[in-house]
Point group: C2
Chain length 434, copies 2
């Protein structure tokens, strides 16, 4: 089921790191059409698309207050408690750094500083589909709350009964979200990007989704608003040596594989014995899973790679840039210091990916498809922007003026120079500070 | 020349904040073609495009070491000193925060931490064209150096004589850039995104450019690598009251208008007298400028807006989200505290935009076209990514295990649950920690 590659030449590593590229040419045209409709017809377009794609007639997308207030009644006390514990851990990890940095006097009389300011209006998309991802509500709405965004809206498709999943509502309420719309798909993203009569235009859109939602977010990012991350299929890379428990490793690989048929799962090992045991355990565990068909298909695209050393394993991982990296080795702590490219790292035998997916406190909205080389996980910072300020005193301007004039002149931007010269002239004529 | 709008109804403000939208439909197809050629033919494609668009035959894109080493010989000592002063100020302002945050124990035995790690390979694009923007080299290469990026490459078109502008080379050398390619346009961006025989593939592309470069960066961002910012035409909004010097305000407006015919310039004032004086001064100053034709055209798309109060002025500015905001009022300090959306803010009568463009220390690579609502200026952080780590002890896993199991079960992700259960079972069978 899982193909094993024995000690590949480093020259071939880059090839092994490649993700399947989706052809989104046709998707783009379709998404552009959806945006155009939403732009022209607003809510009416949303209703038409919901009827077309979800076979659902909607009077009002806004989830009513009573439904939100009462959310949780049908959930077990145990589950509610679990969600609360996860929320607490996430809050503990997502600390806010200083909102205002100290003022720096870069030259005498030239004062510069930065201020972090919350993005005012943000939109969160929570997919419906095969699994109601209420955990993602925690991962996005809590940092938005901590950052202090003044308006947080959430869009999510309704379930078959026409209602939004109760755990999603309960979690949203817990995380302080007050406005929820039961609308899904690319049309929900278009609505948040453009704004309709019902749904306000937001300044940044967060959240995972299928290929339509992802394409819509990328379309929105071109000219409407910011997005959290370019999202692709989820992936894990496990580095395991002979100290690893084959059952644990197999379980970790499967927990990634069950996400979707396009999930990617890679095991790097220095031990042929371990690999044999993991494969055995994989087969045993797979057949007990409700989502075994999905996991099985995902495993088709996945592979096991044997390498000579753990240093090589880490080198490969840094080249692959995994969304999730599990280090299941004896020297996991040391090895973790060599991570250069990864989204979230799970150190040691008792740190399964599920811990970070739900409750350890780290964020599970992570860069995929190799983007871990340059993007970070969602954090409070994702809900803030930083504004620079500068104030020059008259003396400050006189001190730095010549520098600016010379540079502007050399860049042939005479008006830039003049904006300084005119001030310096006035100050000189007053004999100010001279 | 500048249209004045008297006391517009707040209901019409949103309309006044609109930027002209470029139709990039045809551009997209052209850019896709350039990427395809560079992907297939590498350096050969680059040479063909350079011949086609720049009428220049190139043997080797790499600027040779001697040329880089000797850069500056023909520059005045004064200019070199000015560039060095600007570099010092930029270094002082671009301080690096802790690379490793403290480890947080979110629950007993559950340890989480973050580490900031430099992006390994970054590419900087410096436009040629009407002005050699060596100041942008400082704004991008210095933060890259501070962040610790291991490979920084720079692409810039050659001047008419076939050589790269000497001030650009001198500044690059000063900022520690060792690898410079004399290639420009969308093809340079494609080369950095994809990689060719000569030019290495980078993980993030920075820098301004014309509409082709901008479209190429956006194309790259969809599936190749990260980019700094979605770039649009440059813009300034000036808030001025009766305390402002009309000459200063006019000079500031012109320094923005000379950037390009698509630049945007907005003056908000509470004083009709000031507005009249500014317009008078504008005409006088305009006709002395070498770039007056450009500035004049930019002013056609620009406007003056009279509002009843400075609070209204700031409200308008926050709705407009200017790239540059100049606060030329008596109470500039107080008013600056109310800024919610802006790229870089210039506080008081002696803080012209040129100061930040060149030398105050803040970064001049800023969000335009309203993106200041959700994006920050380029900073050291733009050259780093943050990786999350977590380590659970066996006790930690036992403590948090149930929480994860319950949530995974409720999300119908059985394999996620199993990855925890299999570990808990092993620990229980050992009577570990129970």
């Amino acid at each position: 089921m899982l193909k094993t590659i024995y000690y590949p030449d480093p020259l071939n590593w880059a090839e092994l790191c490649k993700r399947p590229q989706l052809d989104t040419t046709n998707l783009d045209t379709m998404i552009a059409g959806i945006f155009e409709q939403v732009k022209q017809k607003g809510d009416i377009a949303l209703k038409e698309f919901t009827l077309k794609y979800e076979k659902r007639e909607v009077e009002n997308f806004l989830v009513d207050k009573d439904q939100l207030e009462s959310a949780g009644r049908n959930l077990s006390t145990e589950l509610k408690k679990a969600i609360e514990i996860a929320a607490e851990n996430i809050l503990k990890f997502h600390t806010i750094e200083n909102l205002q940095d100290p003022v720096i006097e870069t030259m005498s009389g030239v004062f510069c500083w930065k201020r972090k300011i919350p993005i005012e209006r943000v939109g969160i998309y929570i997919p419906g589909g095969t699994a109601p991802l209420f955990s993602t509500v925690l991962m996005l709405a809590l940092p938005a709350k901590l950052a202090g965004c003044s308006e947080v809206i959430l869009c999510t498709p309704a379930e078959k009964n026409g209602k939004v999943n109760e755990a999603v509502l309960f979690t949203a309420k817990l995380a302080g979200v007050k406005t929820i719309y039961s609308v899904g798909g690319a049309q929900a993203v278009a609505a948040m990007a453009i704004g309709t009569e019902t749904i306000p235009k937001v300044q940044k859109i967060f959240g995972p989704g299928n290929q339509y939602v992802t394409a819509a977010k990328q379309f929105a990012a071109r000219s409407y608003c910011a997005i959290d991350l370019p999202a692709g299929p989820s992936e894990v890379l496990v580095i395991a040596d002979e100290s690893a428990d084959p059952g644990f490793v197999a379980a970790d690989l499967l927990s990634q594989a069950e996400h979707g048929t396009d999930s990617q799962v890679i095991l790097i090992s220095t031990s042929e014995i371990l690999v044999k045991e993991v494969k055995k355990s994989l087969v045993q565990q797979l057949f007990t899973l409700p989502r075994k068909t999905i996991a099985q298909e995902a495993l088709q695209n996945s592979h096991v790679i044997l390498l000579k050393s753990l240093e090589d394993a880490m080198r490969f991982s840094n080249l692959y840039c995994p969304e999730h990296l599990i280090i299941a080795t004896q020297n996991a702590d040391d090895l973790s210091k060599k991570v250069i490219n990864a989204g979230s790292v799970f150190v040691g035998h008792y740190s399964p990916e599920s811990a970070g997916d739900y409750a350890s406190g780290t964020n599970h909205t992570l860069p995929t498809s190799g983007f871990a080389a340059s993007y970070s996980a969602v954090s409070n910072e994702s809900f803030l922007k930083i504004i620079s300020f500068q104030k020059l005193t008259p003396d400050g301007l006189l001190g730095i003026g010549k520098t600016i004039e010379l540079m502007a002149e050399a860049e042939k931007l005479e008006a830039h120079k003049e904006a300084v010269s005119i001030r310096m002239k006035k100050l000189s004529s007053k004999n100010y500070g001279l």
